[in-house]
Structure formats: C-alpha cells, structure tokens
C-alpha cells in the first residue's frame, strides 16, 4: 500500500512576509518551513500507515513537493515526521505556478510514483490560503475527494472522514484509491526526536524535473498561470490608535467612542433581515 502526502514549503507565518514587485511571494528570506497545516497531513498518513502495518499490511508513505531548492527542507521535515521516502520536483519552470499549475505538477508526480492508494494533503497553504489545490488534485488524478477532514479512518479498502462545514457536520466515505485533505483538528503532529532526525538522513529524496514527469512546461509556472497579481502593497499602518488601562470607567468611555464613530447603530436593532 502506498500513501502519498503532498506538502508545500512556505515562509514561516511568524516571520515578516512580503510580496515582491512581481506580486509573488518573497521566498529568499531563508526562514521557509514545511507548511504547518501539512504537518497534520504527514501525521495523518504516518498514523494510518502505522495502523496498517500493525494489521500486517506493507505500507510506504511518500512525501512530495514542488518548489525551488529550499523546498527540499519541507520534504526533509516530512521524513523526520515519519515518511519513508520523498520526491522533490525541482524545475525553474515551476516558479510562478498558480493553483491549477501546482496541482498539475503534483498530480504528475503522484502518477510517476505508480499506484497511490491514498493521497493526503493539508487543508490549505498558509501563504496563499486558497484551499483550491486538494480539489484540483483530486480532479486531475480522478480520485474521490474527502476534504477538510477532522478525523480519518481506513478499513477494508474504504476511507471514512468526519468534517465540519459552516452549516453542517458530515461523515463521508469512499472506496480507495481516494484523496483526503485534513484540518488542524485531525491530530497533533509529533515532535521528531533525535533518533527520528538521524533516521531521516538515510531516507531517499528523489529529485525530478518536469521532463521526468512528462509535464509540458508551458502549462505550469508563469507560462501557464491564469491569474496575475498586478498590484501589491502593504496595508497602511493603523492611525489614531488608543490604548488605555481600565480605571473603572473604560467600558463607559469605550461606549462613547463607539457611538461617536457610528460603529454601533444608534438605535437598537429591530431584527430586520434582508
């Protein structure tokens, strides 16, 4: 059995993140990291693999990424977290890919590995935050999609997930092979110990180009992008800020401040809708 986890290398969200003049994310800060939400994806895959091994099934967890040199750090981290092998799609033509281009490259990499019984992703990349790639990947790989899972279980060739949406909670199931995206509620990613870090150094990272994958470079990267950032500016700092310590009257003063600026309605709500 093979479980493939698609991950992304992103600027650390704790760091100062910025866009360049081309409207693309500045990735040369050196403080890139495995997308935090993808740690949940790796953990989910590794736990499912452990359970399958306990049941006597031979399982391999492969972590896959596409990105520049630095992106290797993301799959290395995946190996430390328990994946068995890694694939890094490294090709200049991948730069500037939009979500569809990214999904094309990842789908080709998954296919290149051969049969995948389960593809796992995080719910979103903490840079672009579009959440589009999991569904796009499922479509391109022609797999049933079970997204935004807060729990995942495998049994008898069927995957079952629970997910919380804005208006409902659902339990979904599908036959394998399938694609699952997990939220940060799905698990608590393990913290690799020294032994795991040393073991990860011996695990293989396969580097592939678009030519290896048979992907036409014109369909990905800047060449294939369907959208373009035409303007990017840091949000102007907030002005006229007030910071007070409560002296017993702060609630009253805040009420006056809100009404002065018309931030709350001056007459009570009538319950009017539409």
């Amino acid at each position: 059995m093979r479980i493939v986890v698609c991950v992304k290398h992103v600027p650390d969200i704790q760091s100062e993140r910025a866009l360049g003049p081309d409207g693309r994310l500045v990735r040369d800060g050196g403080d890139g990291t495995l997308n935090e939400l993808d740690e949940n994806a790796v953990e989910a895959a590794v736990v499912l693999a452990e359970q399958a091994r306990d049941a006597g099934v031979d399982v391999e967890v492969v972590v896959v990424t596409a990105g520049p040199d630095d992106a290797e750090d993301a799959v290395r981290r995946g190996l430390q977290l328990g994946a068995d092998a890694a694939v890094h799609v490294l090709d200049d033509a991948v730069a500037g890919s939009d979500v569809i281009g990214t999904a094309r490259v990842l789908a080709a990499a998954v296919r290149h590995l051969g049969e995948a019984d389960l593809v796992v992703t995080g719910m979103a990349g903490l840079d672009g935050l579009t959440s589009l790639v999991p569904a796009a990947l499922a479509d391109l790989l022609d797999l049933p999609q079970l997204t935004l899972a807060s729990s995942v279980a495998l049994a008898d060739g069927t995957v079952t997930v629970r997910r919380d949406l804005d208006h409902a909670t659902e339990v979904l199931e599908a036959p394998l092979p399938a694609l699952v995206s997990v939220t940060d509620r799905a698990n608590e990613p393990r913290y690799p110990n020294f032994q795991a870090i040393m073991a990860a150094r011996k695990k293989p990272v396969t580097v592939l180009t678009l030519a290896d994958l048979g992907v036409d470079a014109a369909t990905v990267g800047v060449a294939g992008a369907r959208t373009e950032v035409v303007e990017a500016a840091p949000r102007p700092p907030r002005t006229d800020r007030v910071l007070v310590t409560d002296d017993g009257e702060a609630g009253r003063r805040l009420a006056a401040w809100l009404l002065e600026r018309d931030l709350v309605r001056t007459t009570p709500a009538t319950g009017e809708v539409l």
């Binding site: 910025a18 959440s131 391109l140 339990v171 303007e231 910071l243 009420a255 931030l263």
Partner: protein, 330 residues
C-alpha cells in the same frame, strides 16, 4: 453581450444565503449595461420565494438545475452542474461566495473550463482592457493586492460583506425567467457517499462571516461567554471565538475565527480576552475597526487594535453593554 453567472447558495429551506445578493450587485457591474446577470440554482429546494428578491437585484434568468440522484451538496456534483450552465449560456464570468465548499467546486470548474480563479476577493471589477480584476488581502491581512484574470473565463469567489448589495434602479423589475435543467452527473463525481449529515442549529444572530459587528471571545473568557452574548445582543453582533475557546468546548467549532476557520472582515471587531495569536489575526486583521480588551498589556492584539483596553473583561464588557443601552435608549 456578456453574461455573468451568480451561484445562488441557499439553505435546505430554499432561503438564499445572506450575501448572495451582494454577488448579484457585483455581477451587474461586471455585466455592464448590455450584459445580463443569470443565477445558478442547484438543488430541489423551493425557488419561488427567492425569485422576486433576485429580480429586484437584477437577475434576469435563473437556471434551476437538478442533478437526479446525485447529491448536489457534494462539491464535484455541484461543479458539474455549474459547468453545464456555463457551457449552455456561454458565460465567461462566475461569481460565488468564498466558502470552503465553493472553493472546491471552483477548482473543478476552473479545470473543466480553463478559467482563472481568484478566492477571498474583497471586490471585483473590469479594468480598461475588459479583464476581470479582483482585490484581496493576503498574508494575514497585512498586504492588499489586485489580481487580474488572464484567461477569457473567470471564476471569482467574493467574501461575504465585500459588496454593499443594492436594488436595480428601474421601477418594476420583472421576476426572473426560470430555465429548468437536468444534469446527468458523471459517476466520477458521486464516488463519495454521505454517511451522515447534521445541519447546524439555526441561530437568531447574524451569520459570522457576513456580520457587520463581531464579538469574539478567547482564552481570557475562561469559558464564560455570558457577558459577550449580552453585548452581542445589544449591538446585533455575531459571536466568534479563538481556536483555544473552540478546542476547550466553550463554543461550537463553527465559531472559530482564523486561518483555518472563518475569515471575518466586519466593520467593527471586538476581541475580548483574545491574545491575537498569528493564526487568529490571519482571520480578522482585515476588519475595519479593531477593539481589544485584555488583561495582558503585552498581548499581540494591541499591536493591531484601534482601541485597546488593558483590563478585566468581566468589568469592562458589562459596563460597555450597560452604557450602550443607556446612551442608545436614554
């Protein structure tokens, strides 16, 4: 003549989701005087009550799509229904609310139609060259961008509350023409089975994602949301929470604001006992005015607050609610 499609998200009762009319308003701007705005209604729910409202907001045709035995709540099914209408109408722009379900459908629509997609847009317009251009905030609300769609077809997902909805100006708008369609959904879209589906209990409060005012509780509430609910009732606000508060079970998961929960950009955000961790800021930093009450003067939320009170929320919030009640009714 440009046709702009609007995805008509609705509840099981057939009631339109609040922000759908904002989409219709934005769509009129994109369609221009010679174009038309069409709605896409997917599902068997009653459409009649929505029709006059849609007419007043400039929707001239509603494509009422049924999908047979296929569950339209599965996003691959929804995507195939939408693609069918896109092809039938020749529409080049699709607008939908920026929800997780619609994002999934949008990814599939984009692959099927070659469209470029922009999610979480705060506004949308055409530039001088006629291209669809959407504005959005990125990187946890710290940057604003304008994103142009380079392909002929565009899918833009607008955040709730992005546009102020308005009626059409002429006096007697017609009820939209309803064009029923039945879409034969492919087997590949229905391989997922819904084992169980529990709808969220309806609330009298406004929808969190589109509310004008949002009252948010964090760790500092210690689990007591009573004073926050009283304030929310007084000002007609939605109640939200941080990840800590939902993980502790103090309030439902659907109330979580942040990068992995609901993104809000209300006119007024009130963070009470909220520290302002980066994950939370990513879901609220684009709010108009930010007010924070927290005992810890070092809480990061004070760095982005327009009005910060260092103090005990159990003192400050009831006093605020009481004073608002007095000033507004006195």
């Amino acid at each position: 003549m440009a046709t702009v499609l609007v995805l008509l998200d609705h509840a099981d009762t057939g009631a339109l989701r609040g922000s759908v009319l904002e989409l219709a308003t934005a769509a009129r701007g994109l369609a221009g005087p010679d174009g038309a705005v069409h709605g896409v209604w997917v599902g068997d729910e009653p459409l009649d009550p929505a029709l006059p409202v849609l007419g007043r907001h400039g929707v001239s045709v509603v494509h009422a799509v049924t999908t047979g035995d296929a569950d339209p709540l599965l996003t691959p099914v929804l995507a195939e229904a939408v693609v069918d209408v896109v092809r039938a109408t020749g529409a080049t722009v699709l607008l939908a609310l920026s929800t997780f379900e619609n994002k999934e459908a949008a990814a599939r629509v984009a692959i099927a139609t070659g469209a470029g997609v922009v999610t979480d847009a705060a506004s949308v317009e055409r530039d001088a060259a006629g291209r669809v251009v959407a504005a959005k905030t990125v990187l946890a609300g710290t940057w604003t961008t304008r994103c142009a769609v380079l392909t002929d077809a565009a899918v833009v997902l607008l955040k709730a509350g992005a546009v102020v909805s308005s009626h059409v100006e002429h006096d007697a708008p017609h009820a939209p023409e309803v064009r029923p369609r039945t879409v034969a959904v492919t087997a590949r879209a229905t391989r997922v089975r819904v084992v169980e589906r529990t709808p969220q209990a309806p609330s009298d409060r406004p929808d969190l994602s589109s509310a004008d005012v949002v009252v948010v509780g964090g760790r500092g509430t210690g689990g007591d949301f009573g004073p926050l609910e009283a304030l929310a009732d007084e000002v007609g606000a939605a109640v939200g929470a941080t990840r800590v508060a939902t993980d502790e079970g103090w309030i439902g998961h659907e109330a979580q604001i942040g990068q992995t929960g609901v993104t809000v950009s209300p006119r007024l955000y009130l963070g009470l006992g909220v520290s302002g961790a980066v994950h939370h800021r990513g879901g609220m930093q684009a709010s108009g005015t930010i007010v924070a009450v927290n005992e810890d003067p070092e809480a990061p939320i004070f760095e982005i607050a327009d009005y910060g009170v260092v103090g005990d929320l159990f003192q400050v919030v009831p006093q605020l609610t009481e004073e608002l009640r007095r000033l507004r009714r006195g």
